[in-house]
Structure formats: structure tokens, C-alpha cells
């Protein structure tokens, strides 16, 4: 399994190397283009700010009042039986509904449990491996005026469920 960790570490630097090499070879003004793209990054980070504040504050109220722990204790016997850390359940439930909310929850989980804890790694993987089904459905179908969705929502939500289960199994196998 250490191969996978090495691959993870090498992937990004090597990707950057290839991009810069090809771009320079093709006479692309690399630095100017980098700055151009970077401007979008600034916009993105600032537009995320209110979402993150809202979600992280709401979850921290839930956590600090003791309500979240009470809820987790309630469902934990069953979850431990099937090998899922109970702490992850709120994230798994919100992930298909709202991207920013899920990002807020992932952040909160990583902050509370630490990024290198089992739960932190699981939240990271879950956040990266599924997407916000409802948001995509709303935007794509709304943009072109599709009124009858047929079985689209079912397929999307089932795919999310598979992604969540897959995340739990893989993170357990690799980081145990």
C-alpha cells in the first residue's frame, strides 16, 4: 500500500512539471497565463467564505451543545457493527445535497479530529470522490429547461451511496 502513498505524493509535482514543459515547448506565455488563472482562485476562495462560516458555525453549535454526540451515541452501536465511524454520518447525508455544506462539514471534521486521523482521511476521501447530485441536477436541467427528469435523481443518489460506501471500504483497507 506504500506504493499508493508514494504515487499520491509524486503525482502533483510531476503533473506540474509536465504542464510547464509542454507549455514552454508550445510557446505559451506560462507566467501570464498562471496569473490569469490565479485571479479566479482568489474569487473562488472569497466566494466560499460566507458558506464556510455559515456551515461551520451551525455544526459547532450542534457539537458544543452536546446534541451531535447524543445523536451519534444513539446510532453508533449499529454503525460500529457495520464498520462505519458514526462521526461521518452527517457528512454522508449532506454530501449529495450541498457542496458548500459538505465542504464545511469536511473542514469541521478535519479540524476536530485532525487531518491524519482515520475519520479525517475518510472525510477527505468522501469529499473528493462524490459530487453534489442535487446541485448538478438543478443547474444542468434548469439551464436547458428539462421538466421531466425520469429516473435521473434515482441514478444520481444511488451513485452517491456507492461512492460513500466505496470511500469507507477503501480508507479502511489502506489506512485501517
Amino acid at each position: 500500500m506504500s506504493i499508493l502513498t508514494t504515487l499520491s505524493t509524486w503525482l502533483i509535482p510531476c503533473f506540474i512539471l509536465i504542464v510547464l514543459f509542454v507549455a514552454t515547448w508550445r510557446r505559451v506565455p506560462t507566467y501570464e497565463m498562471f496569473v490569469e488563472g490565479g485571479k479566479d482562485g482568489v474569487k473562488m476562495a472569497f466566494s466560499l467564505l460566507p458558506f464556510l462560516v455559515g456551515m461551520i458555525v451551525a455544526i459547532s453549535i450542534l457539537r458544543s451543545s452536546g446534541a451531535l454526540n447524543a445523536f451519534i451515541e444513539l446510532i453508533s452501536p449499529f454503525l460500529i457493527f457495520i464498520g462505519v465511524p458514526p462521526e461521518i454520518i452527517p457528512l454522508a447525508m449532506v454530501r449529495p445535497i450541498s457542496g458548500t455544506a459538505a465542504l464545511g462539514m469536511t473542514t469541521e471534521i478535519i479540524g476536530t479530529h485532525g487531518p491524519d486521523s482515520f475519520i479525517g482521511r475518510l472525510a477527505s476521501t468522501m469529499q473528493g470522490s462524490t459530487d453534489t447530485t442535487l446541485y448538478i441536477l438543478t443547474i444542468y436541467f434548469g439551464a436547458v429547461g428539462i421538466k421531466k427528469m425520469k429516473y435521473a435523481l434515482k441514478v444520481g443518489l444511488l451513485a452517491d451511496l456507492v461512492g460513500i460506501i466505496a470511500s469507507v471500504i477503501i480508507v479502511t483497507l489502506i489506512f485501517g
Binding site: G41, A45, I59, P115, D116, R121, G156, D160
Partner: protein, 196 residues
């Protein structure tokens, strides 16, 4: 939907604190967590700027269009309803390539364009088979490099912020393949229903 969930989380927490006697903790958590969220967003700027900058260079260098060419044969198999040289194909490929590199902002406009083209093909306000397949691929999120997650892990001083790239890739691959299988199952079920 999100509005209800959000209000419920805060509401339940406050009501629970009334009975649990943890109001002081709630007050403290309120302001501390708001501050933490702001600090985090500011911290995200560094990685987002860098990554989106690099991706812009990749786009200009033609790396994305090169990848689109590589995936073409596979995508043609996945969307049997769309004619090979139809513009919808190009947009679908661009959308998938952008998604793979975590360029959500670039992927969305391409996705909408793809949907428009597919609607021209079907000509109704009912979702077509290709549209649902396209959604299934998008919702299972073909990310290779989860930029935002990596940056959050850095913010919290992870020993190895990128170690989750591997697990994310495998999980994504599995969920994408399953999404396509689920999509096919539903499509053929739907087909049988309309025949009888």
C-alpha cells in the same frame, strides 16, 4: 433543502443546550468557529490561486484537448445515442476532462453546453437517455486531484496532505463505474416499461 438542514442544525443545537445546560459552550463555540472559518478561507487562497493558475497554463498548452482525444473512443461507447461528430460529444469530453482535474468552474459551463446540444438532439422537455448518463458521470465526480481537500489538510498541518489522492482516485473510479452500471440498469428497465 439546504436551508432547512442548516436551520435545523443550529436550532436543534440551541434547544438542546437549553435542557443540557451547555449554553456557555454554545456561546463560546459560536464566535470561535466563525473566526476559524474565516482563517480557513483565507488560507485556501494560496492553494486555489496556485492550482487554478497551473490549470490555466495546462489548458493553454492544449493538454486538456489532448486528453479529450485520448478519452474519445471510451466516451463514444458510453453515449451510443449521440452521433460521433456531433458538437455534444466535444462538450461532453471537455466537461469530463475539466472535472478530472478538479476544474469545477470550467466544467460547469461545458456541462450546460453539452446539455443544450443533447436537448437539440432530443427536442423535448423530458430528460433523454444521454442526458441522464451524462449526469451519472458528473455526480460520481471523476476527480484525480481534489485540490480543495488537499488545501484544507494543509491548513490543519497534516503530515501528508496529499496521501488521500490515491484513495480518492480509487473511490471515484468505483463510484463512476457503478454509476454507469446503475444508469444502464434503469435505462433498460424504463425501456421495458414503455414497451408493455
Amino acid at each position: 433543502m439546504v436551508n432547512i438542514i442548516w436551520a435545523l442544525m443550529a436550532g436543534i443545537g440551541i434547544v438542546y443546550a437549553m435542557f443540557n445546560g451547555t449554553m456557555d459552550d454554545v456561546n463560546q463555540a459560536l464566535f470561535e468557529s466563525a473566526e476559524e472559518a474565516v482563517t480557513l478561507s483565507i488560507g485556501l487562497i494560496s492553494i486555489l490561486v496556485f492550482w487554478l493558475g497551473i490549470m490555466k497554463v495546462a489548458e493553454e498548452a492544449g493538454i486538456l484537448s489532448f486528453l479529450a482525444k485520448v478519452f474519445r473512443p471510451v466516451i463514444i461507447k458510453i453515449f451510443p445515442e449521440i452521433p460521433k461528430d456531433h458538437p455534444a460529444m466535444g462538450y461532453i469530453l471537455s466537461n469530463i476532462t475539466a472535472n478530472i482535474f478538479g476544474l469545477g468552474n470550467a466544467a460547469t459551463p461545458m456541462g450546460i453546453k453539452a446539455m443544450e446540444q443533447m436537448k437539440e438532439l432530443s427536442g423535448t422537455d423530458t430528460a433523454s437517455r444521454s442526458m441522464i448518463t451524462f449526469l451519472a458521470i458528473n455526480t460520481s465526480s471523476l476527480t484525480i486531484i481534489p485540490t480543495t481537500v488537499i488545501s484544507i489538510r494543509m491548513q490543519y498541518d497534516s503530515v501528508s496532505p496529499t496521501e488521500i489522492v490515491g484513495t480518492t482516485m480509487i473511490a471515484t473510479l468505483i463510484s463512476s463505474i457503478c454509476a454507469l452500471i446503475i444508469d444502464r440498469i434503469f435505462y433498460y428497465r424504463d425501456l421495458r416499461r414503455t414497451k408493455t
